[in-house]
Assembly symmetry: C2
Homo-oligomer: 296 residues x 2
């Protein structure tokens, strides 16, 4: 059977990095894309960039869409505008792209169950295309962003299998690698590999700054000597502070658990330096070296 | 006056990443390069690659060199072979490329003072070209490695200004940015921006592994979801374990001081997550974001 995204118009709510990239790829694949944005200036620029077939600031643009992708920042996703909820078509499949899934599911289960004749909670598929870059906003969207990247869905017992299949077909049409897992497992995993590195890198920048301040002419020295290794290690830690805060807030429990593991791993390495256990330190660093290729 | 490296043959001891790259650039600049290596197989391969004018396993190859660069790993640099010390020509300028400077200075001050009619301690210039890559060994050397990279020297009160100038001319001929600072300041700075990131990244890999093991099917999940951000943050932490250990051992006090700063910065961020101080967290992450460009 023809995939839903080919049979019926696809709604995209928000045209930032994820929404804009979705629009470009879906347009290229021949889909009808109807985009809802907040500001008129964004709509004008999105039309210039050809991010969607139709772009509007009026939620009515979503009428007739068989599949709607909520490509909103986490804070707006977790506090959806009533006009957006009302505009979601009856029977439509709805998915989101938020980086934390438990709170999104809890929020939207309630929102859709309370919305009466909307899509219904069983047609909501929580998902997370893992394709971040440093860019944001209407200029950020790029063709091919999802190719080869994981696209994780976290279906629940009540999720309509046909809705899940419709989102899967969309993700795979864009070249993403489809994965399903529980929302809690997803949130704990991204705390470890995505949210913890933000804090670890952010702390590294602050430590270099504080430590450099204690060395004679050290503030300039640490800056002059920092090389590509330091730049790489701190890239996500020096990223968008609002995004980092929103992820930490939405995924607080899992992040604290990840920080606990991190503190222990770091303390174990530090104890080897304190105790001058050089052979144990080399073995521990060899373990890290052996682990890394698994994560690439 | 013509720089020393143009007037007299340059000795290079060790033809790994740094020594081999030095050889290639110096040969291209028209210098006579006489290289001393440990193993006959390395000598043969170095000749094939054209890393030096002459390559030998016999320390006598250094005879007649006006400038000798000790491009040895830190452990061999801190425990030099007596035959190497004896072979250093009278009056030659000697420099090293080790990533920690205090222990190198303490070691070589003694070695050269005790060597009688060698170069003499005043002709030793401790230096550190900051141009690491992931590669090592005789295949690693590459042309242009030093271009635009910092090359730090840590002269002492007794260092002969002419010797310092000779090393500076060599570094600048290869396109490096010349810097001078005290050995202690250097070692504390590299602890913050080079050695601490190794432990921070290594701990991240171990935390992701340990944390993933606690999630149902999490070991596979964290690996599947890890993206370019995790790869970047852990690049130096998943690097050569022997190198990491040697740096930690040679720079132990400064590394412990850096770890202390890091633990405090991390604890401060964690306290904001625990206390749900989201505005403070965003401000702290914004501080990290603002700091990072200074280090690039």
């Amino acid at each position: 059977m023809t995939p839903l995204w080919q049979r019926e118009p696809v709604g995209v709510v928000g045209l930032g990095l994820i929404g804009g990239s979705l629009g470009l790829d879906l347009m290229a694949a021949g889909a009808q894309v109807r985009a809802l944005v907040h500001r008129p200036a964004t709509a004008a620029r999105a039309r210039e960039r050809g991010l969607a077939t139709e772009v509007s600031t009026d939620p009515a643009v979503l009428a007739g869409c068989g599949l709607v992708v909520l490509a909103l920042p986490l804070d707006r996703l977790l506090d959806p505008h009533p006009a957006l909820v009302t505009a979601l078509p009856v029977g439509a499949v709805v998915t989101d792209v938020g980086s934390v899934k438990g709170p999104v599911l809890r929020c939207w289960r309630g929102v859709l169950a309370g919305a009466g004749d909307g899509p219904g909670a069983s047609r909501f598929v929580a998902s997370h295309p893992m394709a971040g870059t440093a860019r944001a906003g209407v200029e950020a969207g790029e063709a091919g962003l999802f190719r080869g990247r994981p696209w994780v869905a976290t279906p629940e017992a009540g999720t309509d299998p046909a809705a899940l299949q419709a989102v899967r077909e969309l993700a795979e049409a864009l070249g993403a690698r489809w994965l399903c897992c529980g929302a809690e497992a997803h949130d704990r995993a991204v705390a470890l590999i995505s949210h913890l590195p933000v804090l670890a890198g952010a702390a590294l920048l602050q430590a270099a700054d504080a430590g450099g301040g204690e060395i004679a002419a050290g503030a300039e020295l640490v800056r002059a000597l920092a090389s590509t290794g330091f730049a790489d290690t701190t890239r996500v830690g020096g990223g968008n502070p609002e995004l980092g805060m929103l992820m930490a807030r939405a995924n607080r429990a899992a992040l604290l658990e990840a920080l606990d593991h991190y503190r222990q791993s770091l303390a174990s390495l530090e104890a080897m330096v304190v105790g001058e256990e050089w052979s144990a330190l080399q073995q521990s660093l060899a373990r890290s070296q052996a682990l890394r290729p698994d994560f690439l």
